[in-house]
Every structure is written in C-alpha cells, then in structure tokens.
C-alpha cells in the first residue's frame, strides 16, 4: 500500500513538473503568437531588407533618379542586442540623404508596435552608411522599417525621392 502511494505521489510530482515547464517554454518561443504580417527571416541572426538594392535585385530606373541603391539589414549581436545596418546611396552628391522614420518594431498584441522611431540624415553627401545597436526585451519578434531619403535643392524647388524598406523579422528570446 505504501509502495503504491509512493509511486502515485512520484507520478503526480513528475506530471506537475512537466506541466509547469511547458508554459515557460511556450513563453520563450513567443507568447504573442506568430506575426501575421511581414516575412520571417530564414537566418535567425540576419534579417535582410525586403527592398534592398545594394546587391542588385529590385533596382529599377525612375524619373527622379536621386537614390541609386538602398540597404537595410538587421543583425543579432551578443545577448539581446540588435544591430541595424542601413545604406542609402545617391546617384550624385545630394543636399540631404539618409533615413526618415526608422522604426524598431516588436510584434505585440497582434500587431507591429513601434519601440522607437527616429530619423537621421547627412548633408551634402553622395551616400550615407548608418549603424545602430540596441538591447531589446527578449521573448518577442523584432524588425526594422525605414524610409530611405534623398533630397536635391535647386532654386526654390527641392527634388525629393523616398523608398520604403523593411527587414524580415527575427526572434529574440
């Protein structure tokens, strides 16, 4: 009788242990669920911009022709660090070149939420290479979105060209 009771007690204890671990594991994989928009990165450490042209791909001619190529990449650094690698190349020396509304986004409550939004530019340059790193809260999917920006001022009419870009997302957890 005692043996049976002990066996039952141990079984219950084991079952309880397994059950308590499973939710924690599920949480670590993203209790927010899988994002319903955006592209999951195939590489867990490197998310590529969906509209990058620094490596060819979507390059296309356009009437304004201020921006030559663009690049936006997200890398996993050590720990919970994310690194943004951005490039905006102009076709000539532009009065203003850079990135408008760079957003670090996290998938939360069924949508992409902006964790931080900012812009950065360079004056009188033909290109702008930009890097930004930050530590994020683990347990979420993250991505960067940005608008590549180029402006040429001539007399009173500025000529402006913008291109939207977004990286695929990767999980930090």
């Amino acid at each position: 009788m005692l043996k049976k009771m002990s066996a039952l007690f141990l079984s219950l204890l084991l079952a309880f242990s397994v059950l308590s671990v499973s939710p924690a594991y599920a949480a670590s994989k993203g209790s927010e669920g899988t994002p319903t928009s955006g592209v999951r990165s195939a590489d867990p450490n490197h998310a590529v911009g969906q509209y990058n042209t620094v490596n060819g791909g979507g390059m296309s001619p356009n009437a304004t022709g201020l921006i030559a190529t663009i690049g936006l990449d997200l890398y996993r650094g050590s720990g919970n660090t994310l690194i943004l690698d951005g490039t905006t190349n102009g076709t000539q020396v532009l009065n203003k070149i850079g990135f408008q509304d760079i957003s670090l986004q996290r998938w939360q409550n069924g949508q992409w939420t902006n964790v931080k939004v900012w812009s950065t530019y360079k004056n009188d340059s033909s290109s702008y290479s930009y890097e930004y790193s930050t530590t994020v809260t683990p347990g979420y999917d993250y991505r960067f979105v940005a608008t590549h920006y180029g402006e040429l001022d001539w007399l009173f009419i500025p000529s402006i060209e913008t291109h939207y870009n977004e990286t695929s997302y990767l999980h930090v957890g």
Binding site: N55, G65, D85, N89, V93
Partner: protein
C-alpha cells in the same frame, strides 16, 4: 486773434475743474492737433486746431497775438507731421512707392517664372527646357544652349590609365587596412573630391567621390567582418540593365536619370559605383577595377 476775457475764463475753468497737470493738458492738446493734421483736407477741423494752438500758447505762458500767423504755423506743423508719418512708414512701403519698382518687379517675376517652369519640366521629365534646339522656318538654325552631361569637362578627355590617381586611392585605402578593387582608368583631370571611412560593428565602409567640374563617379564599398553577411548580388528585376564582367565578377549596370548605377561584390567587398560619364566611358572605368 487776441485772447479775450472769455478765453481766459475758459482756460481758468479747465485748469480748476479738471485739476489736470498742465503738462498733461499740453500733451493732450498737441495730440489733438496732430490727429487733425493727419486727416484729409476736407475732414480736418481747422477751428479745433486753431483753438488748441491758442490754448497751448496760453498754457505755455505765451501770447497768442495778431502777429502770430496761425496759418503759417499750421502749415509748418502739418509739414512736420507729414515728414514724421513718412519716416514712420515701413521701409518696404516706401520702396514700393518708387515709380521704377513696377517694371523691376515685373522683370523679376518673369525670371522666377521661367526658372520655376524649367525646374518643373526638369523634375518631371529629366530634361531641362534650356536643352532645347530652336528651329526657324525653312532655314534650319539650331542652338544648343547647354553642354551634354555625358561629356567630360574639356569635351575631349577620354578615360585612360590614370596611374597617379589610382595609386593615391590605393594608399588612402591601405591607411584603413582596406584593399578593395579600385579603378585604374579615369579621366585625367579627375580628382578625389571626397574620401570617407567609417568603422562599424558589422563592417567597414568607404565612400569615395571622384570627379571634375562637371562629371562625377561615386564609389561606396563595404567590407563585412563576417563574409556570411555579404549578400549575393542578384540581377535587377527589370530588363533595363547590362551585365559586365570584371575579373569573372558579375557587374549589373543600369541607368537612372543621368547616372549609371552598378553593383557587384568580389566575396570580400560589396561595391556600389555610380557614374555620370557616358556609357562607353563608364564601362571602361568599371572594367579597369583592379586590386
């Protein structure tokens, strides 16, 4: 006009009843005079002005006798008031009243309109109005107002081996422990307009602008510490491109407005090279890239 007893009586009454400081009253009377002088002739109350002047003389201890020419005094006061009003006018208004302003303004507006129209056309089509060729009737006369963007500065220079510039670029890159492909052939009057280098966590970046007064080549080179981070160069998704070969490396070349844009990587460095030279010269420059 002499002061009579009635005048003196009124002044005394004013001073005693209102118990005003004499100075305040003087200022008030002067203000009334100036206000009347600013009115149009048909609205001006000359009797009030005259009365106020008489009162002022009395208050200030003077006499308002016959020999005082009230009309001359009025004219003088009016002229002073007009000068003060003119000086108080905003400068712009005075300038605008100048008779030459209208034709000058018309000329300026015409020039602004022409430049704006040219900018709008250039923005929309990429071609400037000033590039137009003008034809007159049967006898064909053509005017080419501008130099084509594609020509090098002197119009005669062609791309050839520019060893001095190439060696200078190699030396500058080595200062940052970098040795990418660099162009051996460039127009002889080209110089380094800008040389920038940045160190990031993921990569090192070089930004080089080469050119003269009219032509420009920009070279952007990235060296990734982890070669796995170098993306494979893909063909553009449009058919409007050329594919060149540099030492077995695929180079994709496309035209954007007046610039030729190219991308390639050699496994160590990722290159974005833009050129405002004509196609054949751009091709020659790209094919001359070497270590």
């Amino acid at each position: 006009m002499r002061c009579d007893n009635e005048d003196i009586r009124i002044i005394k009454k004013i001073l005693s009843e209102e118990k005003l400081d004499g100075k305040e009253k003087i200022n008030e009377l002067r203000a009334q005079i100036y206000a009347e002088l600013h009115k149009p002739d048909d609205e001006m109350d000359c009797d009030l002005i005259d009365e106020n002047i008489r009162t002022l003389f009395l208050l200030e201890g003077g006499e308002y006798d016959d020999h005082v020419d009230a009309e001359a005094g009025l004219k003088k006061a009016r002229k002073m008031a007009e000068e003060r009003a003119k000086a108080a006018q905003p400068k712009l208004k005075r300038v605008m009243q100048n008779r030459f302003m209208k034709p000058v303004l018309a000329a300026c507006l015409t020039l602004v309109f022409l430049f704006s129209a040219n900018a709008i056309v250039a923005h929309a089509t990429g071609n400037s109005l000033l590039d137009s060729v003008v034809k007159f009737g049967r006898n064909y006369i053509s005017f080419d107002f501008t130099q084509s963007n594609g020509r090098t500065a002197s119009g005669q220079e062609t791309v050839s081996e520019n060893d001095a510039l190439y060696q200078e670029l190699v030396k500058k890159c080595k200062e940052f422990d970098l040795s990418p492909l660099l162009p051996k052939s460039l127009p002889q009057d080209f110089k380094i307009l800008n040389f920038g280098q940045q160190n990031f966590k993921i990569k090192k970046n070089l930004s080089i602008d080469l050119g003269n007064n009219s032509d420009l080549i920009t070279i952007n080179v990235d060296y990734y510490y982890d070669r796995n981070n170098i993306s494979i160069v893909k063909a553009p998704e449009t058919s409007d491109y050329d594919k060149l070969d540099i030492h077995g490396i695929d180079v994709y070349l496309m035209k954007k407005s007046d610039t030729y844009v190219s991308v390639f990587n050699d496994g160590n460095y990722v290159y974005n090279v833009n050129s405002s030279l004509p196609y054949d010269e751009t091709e020659k420059v790209l094919k001359s890239f070497d270590y």
